[in-house]
Amino acid sequence: MSVTVPRGTLLVEAAKLVKVEVPVFCYHHKLDPVGACRLCLVEISPGPPKPTTACTTPAAEGMVVKTDTPLAVGARADILEYELVNHPLDCPVCDKGGECPLQDYTFRHGYPTSRIDAPRLHFKKPIPLSEKIALDRERCVLCYRCTRYYDEITWSQELTTDERGVHSYITSQFDQPLKSVFSGNIIDLCPVGALTSRVWRFESRPWDMDHVPSVCSRCAVGCNVTLWKRRHQLVRVTSHENDEIDEGWICDRGRFEYTHVNSPDRLKVPLVAGAEATWEAALTALLEGVQGRKLGIFLPQDITNEELFLLRRLVDGPWQDARVALERRTLLAPPQGETLPIKDLDGCKAIVVIACDTADDVPIVNLRVKKAVSKLGAKLLVVHPGHLDLDRWPDTFHVRPNPGETAEAVRRLIGHELLQEGPVGILYGDGHGAEDVDALTQAVVDLAEAVGGRVMPLYRATNERGALGVRLAGRQEDLEGCDAVILWGPGRPPASARFVAAWDSVPRPEHEGADVVLPSATFAETQGSYTNLEGRVQFLRPVLPVTPPLREGWDVLCELGQRLGMPDMDYLGIFHVQRQASRAVELFAPLADPPAPVPNPTPVLYGPARP
């Protein structure tokens, strides 16, 4: 078989294109090749008369690669035999069992027996690396994916290798818990069961879970995730690689903040004055409560586009004077003109990050910035009063204005020597309220114009962009003075509230004593879509069913509309809502064309090729 690939493509990737499996542990398509595990040995000609690592050798014109010669097959089997020298036989209780490359490769490439009877290395196990991650050093094959990920991708070295040679082991620095918000990705990276999730530990086996690709609900980046369920419980969240957004990384908030979905405290039935009630009674009580009062509505950050559209209709109609607040929102206005898509950060020659701690507010954008800088050679400028993790790059140019003076500092960057070469990406936040946002935005736009760059406003709330698209993104303070409030999500009632309706998935202290309580569906159950910070509409795929009496938000909003006598509120399903929303709101145009519920599966054996 012959294959033509772009210059620089490594042999492992070229092999995938012709459907030949070259087993790898240390190689990962998002990390620099290192050649540590030696499992990918192949024979190449012309070349040395010995096996060569396919993960560090780029394909060349006329190169002949043989994977099935006795030399190559034997070399790989020998390496596997070595990998298994210290590997314990606890596969039956290992969380990785069933989706473990070591198992699969041993099955397909290894010897059926081992000739090694030397004593095995023993370590204490499992060792908690943090609240969320457990480390089993006996299972580790020292591929260094985890430490390389930490170092290359997150620019931190809190996970490291101690000792050397056969005595090497992975450890967190001085055995202190990992602090990084990006730590969970090492679980996905680990090709064996050495790094496992403590949240999911011993919950289920990989083969008895169902999974769907969906979108993360925790911030405005919109990383793609895979939701895993078992027996009507959401048991795991992993990344789902989308190179246009997340490159296969998700942050720990997205990965671990899902346990409320399975909480035994989940609200399932509506409550009126503390007593269980039917939806009919609860909605009646709610409508009576807000009747004639000054209404305030608090929205959760992960409200869907469809819910926003329906709520917009309500606020345009019967709830005309209602004020609306959005959880975690920034003060940024909707962007004017073209903005910089996340994927285009890769092409930037210079990146300016303004008034935003990206690691905290938009974690995966932070990783994209780091990639553009350390792997693709972009210059990095930061305008922020504090010390950020982006400062770890030795050549970061960091301006530290006093809080409130960021706009002037941004203007002073015009003509800066690092911004001479484009394209320039300008990322800006709102300084968490410390800045005059209008002045800052104007300064950013002026800078973009002067240096020929594009801007990327860094919104915080998951669907803030969608909420701005339908002008429903006020602040918590805006609810002051309202005497009836609907608290959807974790909002506090203002002091002025005489009537409080809470609408949430779990009880919260701030909802204590609410007059009406409505149960809400979570991101794992609801249909709908989010608009991420770049304006991209992405669809949720519910992994759990909505079990009555639980109802989805859009459904409840439709009924409220009907009860308030609005016309055309009797949608037959969410597709009808989406179709209408796509016509009514420019930002929601992609709703007209929802994707197939489940995308095509990728082949298990080879995986997608990434030349």
Partner: protein, 198 residues
Amino acid sequence: MAALSEHAIEEIRALPPRFPHIRSAVLPALDVAQDELGYLTREAMTEVAELLDLDPGYVEGVATFYTLLHLEPIGKHHFYVCTNLSCDLRGAYEICDHIKRRIGVEGFGEVSADGLFSLEEVECLGACEFAPMMRYQRRYHYDLTPEKVDALIEAARQNGGDRAADSPRDAAAASQKPPGRRASSRGPTKEDSAELNA
């Protein structure tokens, strides 16, 4: 905090510009720290990391990799006795046992009660032609005999335990190769082994 003295901190701060990557400065920085403290404490490693703008984890990884960087206290006088093939055949373990008896310790890595001495077996130091040999006080000592070792221990005791730094940093300067037998007909001389730090 400040596990390190002002002087050491200054010395470490001056290191990075001398290297293409800041990480290259970790080893010399750890040498400075070990010179000052005798061994590397967690605090010292953390401080080195801060001075070089790295996470302590990286420094820890480097420090645990090299056996010449000590993570446990060692004696003020530390014997690095080679026990590889040539030295072993010529009685390196007898020398080790002799040293252990003299300084009153049971095993390698143990520090004598007075805190003065400790010993460690090391891999080949590249002076097989003078086996058995050891590194002690920045110098190689050749053709070891119990008497030669006794003289060294006695001199150190006389010295009152004035800690002469014995660190890998000095190894480069001090291990000017002894005149090889082939290169020079002189062979090892008395000075080679009897030389002590003043």
